[in-house]
Amino acid sequence: MTLALAGAGQRRPQPVWLVAAALVPVALMCLPLVYVALRSWQAGPSGIVAELLRERTLMLLLNTVALALGVTLGACLIGVAVAWCVERSDLPGRRWWRIAASLPLAMPAFVASYAWSSVHVAVQSLPGAIFVLTIVVYPLVFLPVAAALRGSLGKGPWETFVTVVLPQAWPALGAGALLVLTHMMAEFGALSLLRVQTFTTAIFQSYELQFDSASAALQSAVLMALCLPAAWGEMRLRQRLHVARAGRGSARRLPPRPLGRMRLPALAGFALLLTLSLGVPFAMLAWWLAVGTSRGAGIADLGPAIAGSLGLALPGAVIVVALALPLAFAAVRHPGPLSRIADRLPYIVHGLPGLVVALALVFLSIRYARPLYQTAFLLFVAYAMLFLPLAQSALRASIELVPPRLEELARGLGRNPFGAFAAVTAPNIMPGVGAALALMVLEIMRELTATLMLAPIGVTTLATEVWSHGNDGQFAAAAPFAALLVLVSALPVYVFTRRSSELYDLQ
């Protein structure tokens, strides 16, 4: 095979090892779909129609869509503005702001919501929820867009930004927006605290009030259907706007654009953003500690909770990233209908709340894999179902940067397909792997519902302890666990930010 052919043609047959490796996550992702279908069918055809045509379903639909779109739009606006400021302007202290602006990712949405819900009752509303969730999830847009802006060309006034710079960041923006959108479909803790009802909160409510709930399964099916157009649309966007990269060394650093009179307002905006997203929640934790008599209660559980959090998050992250790798690789290197469906499936399942995924695994494992039930292994499978797309998108960015020619060269030198991947591709995508691992650690550490149901018995995590003490009204006892959860999360956020930057700094 000649280099020219390899560079031009994408139609190489998929290697067997890749197909086999990609089948594992695909099979796993089908499990919750089967469970939801089985349980929904219990309602019977007429029951399904009756449930879907209820007035309440319309209310839930409107709320869910308004919230998801509102937060996605808000996160895109803030994310792009912040990314432009730290990458393209002469904002003072840009290097510092780049790290600081990604830190809100370390703040679990339920902690931020708890703080904000007590600031004023007006925050407990749909607009309030959109506001609170936007200021904690915008880094999911900011980080990929910042990375794309750093690597792209173009400068100049506003028109150039819109016509040249932004289009180059479209794929990154689309990927980030899709993550935020599907994330919001499955959000529960924050919305419950902010008193907004969506399909996900309704699903939790169904399981609170009901046993063997077919209506909860139906609501889950609707939720996945809502994720479909988003996952499909983002894929179309990516296909149409495939950004050609000429490999390393071609992008040139451009002089930053002066902010001029906007310098002070921009700085004030950054300070405000961090105060709102980090300052307010930390102030609340401090206040709890100051007034609560349960201060210090359960402090002996801190060690086991940290061990539990890390003991689940670290291996969990490795497993999820290992499952995501073949999917991302197949989607980039061997685009075709099958690899596209395999790549998109996890995004649909990503819209499912943790409770549904956990119950699906209870149902299936107890019947067909009983020895695995309530082992750490099964919980890792649940984490994969919940968080795979986050790992996929982090990996995809870095795989796209490795020219296929490199692999072909290795093949030409006598390596087999897997050998070529191991020798050439793997070392080059390490920044992406690092970013994916960090993001997974972050998500797994704050996961609550599936962990409560599926963790080996007796295992506690920082997140389960925050929930438990909060449930008992011991806010001061909960505060150290919540604070530690944020602080421990800051490390993977830092790693994630650094790795995302490295990706493009290498060019």
């Binding site: 291996p315 149901m453 806010f475």
Partner: protein, 342 residues
Amino acid sequence: MPHLDRRGFLKAGAWAAGSAALARPAIGGAWAAGETLTLYNGQHEKTTRALIDVFSGATGIRVNVRQGSSSQLANQLIEEGDASPADVFYSEESPPLVALANRSMLATLDDDTLKQVPPIYAAKDRTWVCASLRSRVVAYNKAMVSEGEFPASVLGFAAEAWKDRVAYVPTSGALLEQIMAIELLDGRDAALEWLKGLKAHGRLYPTNGAAMKAVEDGEIATALINNYYWFSIAQEVGDANMKSALFYYGHKDPGALISATAAGVLKSSRKQDLARRFVAFMVSEGGQQAIVDSMAEYPVRPGIESTFALKPFDELDPPAIGPADIGDAADALVLIREAGLA
């Protein structure tokens, strides 16, 4: 034997992940030698922990706890079926236990255990027993409303006059029980009207704790909750600092309903004797004292004194409705759905 198997798989899973060293301290502890029980616990953790400390201290039996919301745990138990690892289920409300009993998932308890409590607080088919009692109350912010303004019955809160001044929690098992009580006392239409009124005029909160906190913080004037939520916050910030107080309806009003926590032994448990021993301990003097010392609940066994300043049980004058009358509260769910609240 199943324990050995699960241990093996646990290790395998941890090994596969390449982090056996990290995972072991947290996971390995649960598998110490000696007799162990597995408890699925929906009751507040601090209460259950206090109970287990006394039980384990006296018997040497270890109790492993899976913590969760009572209904979610009941759903999990139903999905687990015969293969459930659980031996005992301790629920914050009685309906989840009745739901399991209706599915023939609970074993019968010893007569000696059931005899410890008044007959109204034990299942007629002997599958569950209540562990503690709570009163429905109206929590109110003292600066925003006074007791004189309250309607003659809790039914009166579902009215225009209380627009945005009453908090309710439709996901709470205790509210379901209150709906059942209204249906039993005043009929189905009254219960449905009440729910529709609450939906139109009241403010929905996700949890009882959040509703109580909203009253204490002055976000809303009143909340329909259980008595112990007030005591939990009072314990945290000090009685003297409380901006809210409790109003007890009495006169057999549905607003004065007594609800109960309850426990039962899973039929699928392979440790029936141990499990029954634990439930027997829950209603013993020692068990009851541990429960009422940790949480502002009433003992189910006569002759136990709470350390909290509870309104005396004799003065509550609740309606004559017990957990068996409420059952699994399925009727209440139908009403809640009809009212558009679920």
